[in-house]
Symmetry: C2
Subunit: 354 residues, 2 copies
């Protein structure tokens, strides 16, 4: 642990001097290296406990013998409305998904709104109605909330923090550190849709073939996967930082190497075209309705078959596998047949994407 500590306290936040920067940069919110730096140097030492230390997108603990999943996310996306969704839909589905990625059945949502003075009530009303629809569709109840207002120029219309609580009914334990060499890497569908949709809207670009956010609640897809096996080791939704970042997190947490074949990773033609124009690599672009699973090799085909029978897994595919070689490193077999390391982005690729 950096930053010391003493015997009276269970932890200690690091002094600012251990950081490479004196101030917060947009990149600290990217989900990449700078975000990891904050977590590792500041939050983990301060609040060290077994739950936080797992670095999963949710905490899982037992209460009177019941296993509960608990997760929180702040949503600061701009623009608020975009093709395929809005900040409200994103906030509900994002939190439902963070619960689902532990194998939990999502049940309850808490929502805290930070509104900027001057926000149009019409916009707020549309966002709340979108949350209502998403919550109903996902079968979760919004049971408690809070509203704060900040003065004009001290916020950006609306930020929403959703916190979710779910229950784990099976016995499976899913965590980023459970990938084993030989596991197959399954991706549930095309990548890059959400981030490209946001950026296109932000830049007022129009591409042939509408690009829409893939925002969707994935818990029923996960439930379907568990119907055919309990040999699912890791589950993640590749949001901020995209597929590349998620694969790196899993490789690092599990201490395995990952090898993926670029040719097997589905990217819509429209998204590919937009990424070329925008100078983005779809592997790093956020998704909001996709999952990556590390599954024992002998269960992979039947899991994939089950996924393809679900509306949110129609384009599911095996994109690679975990290996004992090059631990903590992700290698990409490129379209032209070479291999290259797929690293985590250092800085922000797309700020405020979710």
């Amino acid at each position: 642990m950096n930053g010391g500590g003493n015997s009276d306290w269970p932890g200690m936040a690091c002094p600012a001097s251990v950081f490479d920067h004196k101030r917060i940069l947009l990149g600290h919110g990217s989900g990449g290296k700078l975000t990891a730096d904050l977590v590792r140097k500041l939050f983990l030492p301060a609040f060290k406990n077994e739950y936080l230390a797992r670095l999963d997108d949710q905490a899982v603990f037992q209460l009177n013998g019941t296993r509960i999943a608990f997760t929180t996310d702040a949503f600061v996306v701009t623009p608020l409305f975009f093709p395929g969704g809005d900040i409200g839909k994103l906030a509900i589905n994002g939190t439902v998904n963070d619960l689902a990625m532990s194998g939990a059945r999502p049940l309850y949502i808490a929502a805290a709104f930070i509104l900027e003075e001057g926000l149009e009530l019409d916009e707020l009303s549309r966002i709340v109605d979108s949350m209502r629809q998403a919550a109903f569709a996902a079968g979760v109840q919004l049971v408690t909330g809070d509203t704060k207002v900040v003065d004009r120029g001290k916020g950006d219309k609306i930020f929403i923090t959703t916190t979710g609580l779910g229950i784990l009914e099976g016995s499976a334990t899913i965590s980023a550190d459970r990938a084993r060499p030989g596991d197959k890497i399954i991706l549930s569908g095309t990548i890059g849709d959400h981030g490209t949709a946001i950026l296109s809207r932000r830049e007022n670009l129009e591409f042939e073939g509408a690009i829409e956010s893939d925002s969707a609640a994935l818990h029923t897809l996960v439930a379907a996967m568990f119907e055919v096996t309990d040999q699912i080791h890791c589950l993640r939704d590749p949001t901020r930082g995209g597929l590349a970042t998620t694969l790196n997190e899993l490789a690092a947490a599990s201490g395995v190497g990952l090898e993926v074949d670029e040719r097997t990773i589905p990217v819509k033609e429209s998204v590919k075209g937009a990424c070329e124009i925008l100078g983005l690599d779809p592997l790093y672009v956020a998704n909001e309705g996709k999952l990556v699973a590390l599954v024992a090799a002998d269960a992979a085909e039947k899991v994939l078959a089950k996924m393809r029978g679900h509306p949110l897994g129609l384009e599911g595919c095996i994109i690679g596998e975990a290996v004992a070689q090059h631990p903590r490193m992700v290698l990409l077999k490129t379209e032209i047949g070479g291999k290259r390391m797929l690293d985590v982005l250092l800085r922000e690729q797309l700020p405020r994407i979710c």
Copy 2:
């Protein structure tokens, strides 16, 4: 229900046209009438369910026979550091208190940070360390979190949303609607400290006799109270909107009248003086370490005695009682012997106080 609805959906957010204003005002965050308006017209119809409908500061539900309390709050206080605390301490204690006010034992906290580009890491580090200390002192674990960064000028250094989860081990049911005529109203100590401390700091005013925020975790005080009786009907921490607003909420939810005697309500001389200069009524000023309890008359004295044996209840006192007359209305016997209605504030008294 305003705003319609159809048979497919469980609720419907109201159209913006039902509001008196077209845009969000600072007063919508005050905890007063405008906040209640948002909740009643927008959030309740959209998400209607038995938990939200109670209008308590936390939802309480059963999971496999275990009663769980769940609460969320966004903290947007400015300045970030003030006499007696900072935004980090406030965020932990505020959420601990919202759990405690249901009688729950606080266990786990989720924290979502919205950071503004340019925030000094030194400030962030101090805030996180303050959260660490508050969490340790309250015996809660911060088990999951999220960090987002917004561009400069789109936030205000740092907003923190904390969500808490606790467990109800006794059989008592505490809710705003359980006050009965005859119940005594117990206040745990002086009022107005927090809001006055914030405003003094904000306005760079110095008063004789330091005014400090009373931010504190009240769960051990509540536990002590339950050691002597289970006849505690309502518990609230009078934060935004102060004691007057909390009393009005309890009167409205329970359908009783409340009568309080101004002469029995403790206010520090320094706070009184500051309020006079600042043009504030301490009855409407936020507290962050006080509670109001509605307790069956025959248990009130022993509850009070127990409270006075606790460091956070030394100045506890009975300030009035619930009556069958003037339901939903709070009457104040003033210092000069008259009676006046103590209403909810229409607009913001002190913006961004928590």
